[in-house]
Amino acid sequence: MTNLTLIQAVNQALQQEMKRDPTVMVLGEDVGKNGGVFRATEGLWQAFGDERVVDTPLAESGIVGVSLGLAVNGFKPVAEIQFDGFLAPAFDQVISHVGRIRNRSRGRFHAQLVIRVPYGGGIHAPEHHSESPETYFVHTPGIKVVIPSTPYDAKGLLLAAIRDPDPVLFFEPKKIYRAFRQEVPETDYTIPIGKARLVKQGHDITVIAWGAQVRTAEQAVVQAKVDADIIDLRTLSPLDTDTVINSVTKTGRCVIVQEAPKTCGLAAEVIARINERALLSLEAPVARVTGFDTVMPLSRLEDSYLPSPERVVKAIKKTMEF
């Protein structure tokens, strides 16, 4: 058992899985000798060599398209897209091919691959380096979307993602890459994809978040002095609806914290599912604290865009007092 940061946990998962399974490959921009711009792949190239840890040309569509080809012919690529904003050039490959190949070949081919993406704001990065594009992929059939929020989960979920027979978009909240440490076992363990985590149990209200916003939710619950269920969704697709419904049925109140823009974000889908299955348990309208329908601002306005504990506290209070 070692105390690791989230990025160290990602690195350990990659190290261990590459050692265990010779068909696992890592490919992307600067992932080799340089160990990735965030150092997620540090030491892999030295340990596994050029053929398994591949610095590719600077071409995101190429990285994902070629990964699909490798996957249908027996490899398990773990592709790194360097920053969230650079996922856009690969969007066509993900939605037109990666998410569809099992279906359109009626099971003859499938894509066992992981696309790792450092995502989200809060690190004062340049333009196109602070995006939260997860909803596009949740909306896309045939792929899974996973977002860890702790080092322990990062390792277990990444190992599960690499072993999952279906393609996984694995978003890593870069704001908390090194924000805190947690005990992470060196042993091999997985966390099931599709299961949310109950961060804390309470009775009065359900607060739902994912990625870096789990920390925001936790801080807000302390500040608001409420007895809350806090749910970290962990997997956005497929969504763990049962955990959400069980909690909301119990508490009757819910606030969802989402970093991405408001309109058509995942919070909207969670609210729709609560309406479908728990409407009569509600004591108040479900509230959401989200980013805005604006372009992600540059660093000086970034904190005004991101959900803050204060905004979440306000929503909690309003929901409690309704």
């Binding site: 040309p57 398209g65 070629v66 490798l70 249908v72 012919n73 027996g74 099992r102 070949s105």
Partner: protein, 353 residues
């Protein structure tokens, strides 16, 4: 520093069997009569299949179809040279290649007839499903052939695309990856002069598409795409290089799309009958028959027999297509994931209960 020449390049083209059916004796690959007859027969089958598919679309028995007429010589001699374990990545106009690769033609009708089951090839055939988003599939060919190379297998990938695809970004990325990692990939561009209504001149200012290979550090050449022997030889050389670990090749087959872009298109809106007529004189099938007949490898009886056999085969193909079971509603839910999600199970239940 003075100005100096860093590199000079040559772009070559190859033609062996001319439009009149005359072979260049210096370039003749001297293939066995049996091989020539097999390729000829497959091209004839592809041609009648194509006509039939259009007829079936007109009768409402299949949906939109993309005809291959005129491009048979680009596809049959190349796909026929693939062996067990090799991969074929078609675009969407590859009926002739698919048939030459050994896929039952009724599967093509099943796909164009609106059933994804048609894209499920047998376990011993590595045929990727048709790729409609232009140019996006070449990357998959690079990846699959790279995987074979990493495992030190001899398998290669052959991918077909058109002149329009060379304008797509993914063409660049695929050629570039293939060059950098020296993957055993054959890029076979069928320059049929038209991307729906946009002529080849609007795709690039370059004098040829073959020369695009130069920028990626890989061999590229142009061949007469209506010349079965030229395509055969160029592909054979490229496959040999790929299997020997010498990397990818771009082959530009200079050809012509005789038919409409698809059964939904009307090509008379953008090109002249005169142009089409001039290309019909360069028909890829007629010239082979002339050549074979003139060299005592084919006679009227054989031709008559082939026509009869092909017609009978075509009847069986259509019959096989029309007796496929209808797709089940379950099919649209059951192949999204290895295990269906809870949400999909519920949605399927909603639709079927």
């Amino acid at each position: 520093m003075p100005r100096k020449t860093l590199a000079t390049f040559r772009v070559s083209s190859l033609s062996i069997l001319d439009a009149a059916g005359k072979v260049d004796p210096n370039l003749d690959p001297k293939l066995p009569a049996k091989t020539l007859q097999q390729m000829y027969s497959l091209m004839v089958l592809a041609r009648v299949f194509d006509d039939k598919a259009i007829a079936l679309q007109r009768q409402g028995r299949i949906g939109t179809y993309a005809p291959v007429k005129g491009q048979e010589a680009c596809q049959v001699p190349s796909a026929l040279q693939l062996t067990k374990g090799d991969w074929l990545f078609p675009a969407f106009r590859e009926a002739a290649a698919t048939i030459a690769f050994g896929i039952p033609p009724e599967r093509l009708l099943q796909y164009w007839g609106g059933d994804e089951q048609g894209s499920k090839c047998a376990a011993d055939k590595n045929l990727f499903p048709v790729s409609i988003p232009v140019g996006s599939h070449m990357l998959h060919a690079v990846g699959a052939s790279w995987a074979a190379k990493l495992r030190k297998e001899k398998a290669i990938a052959l991918t077909y695309f058109g002149d329009g695809a060379t304008s797509e970004g993914d063409f660049h990325e695929a050629m570039n990856f293939a060059g950098v990692f020296k993957t055993p990939t054959i890029f076979l561009c069928q320059n049929n002069q038209w991307a729906i209504s946009v002529p080849r001149e609007r795709q690039t200012a370059a004098a040829s598409l073959a020369q695009k290979a130069i920028a990626y550090g890989i061999p590229g050449m142009q061949v007469d795409g209506n010349d079965m022997l030229a395509v055969y030889v160029a592909t054979k050389e490229a496959i040999a290089r790929a299997r020997a670990g010498e990397g990818p090749t771009l082959i530009e087959c200079f050809t012509y799309r005789i038919g409409d872009h698809t059964t939904s298109d009307d090509a008379t809106r953008y090109r002249t009958n005169k142009e089409v007529a001039s290309w019909k004189k360069k028909d890829p099938i007629d010239r082979v028959r002339t050549y074979l007949s003139a060299n005592n490898m084919w006679d009227e009886n054989q031709e008559k027999q082939l026509q009869l056999n092909t017609a009978a085969q075509l009847d069986k193909i259509v019959q096989a297509y029309e007796t496929f079971p209808k797709p089940k509603i379950n099919d649209m839910f059951d192949y999204l994931y290895a295990q269906p999600t809870q949400e999909l199970v519920q949605q399927k239940q909603e639709l079927t209960s």
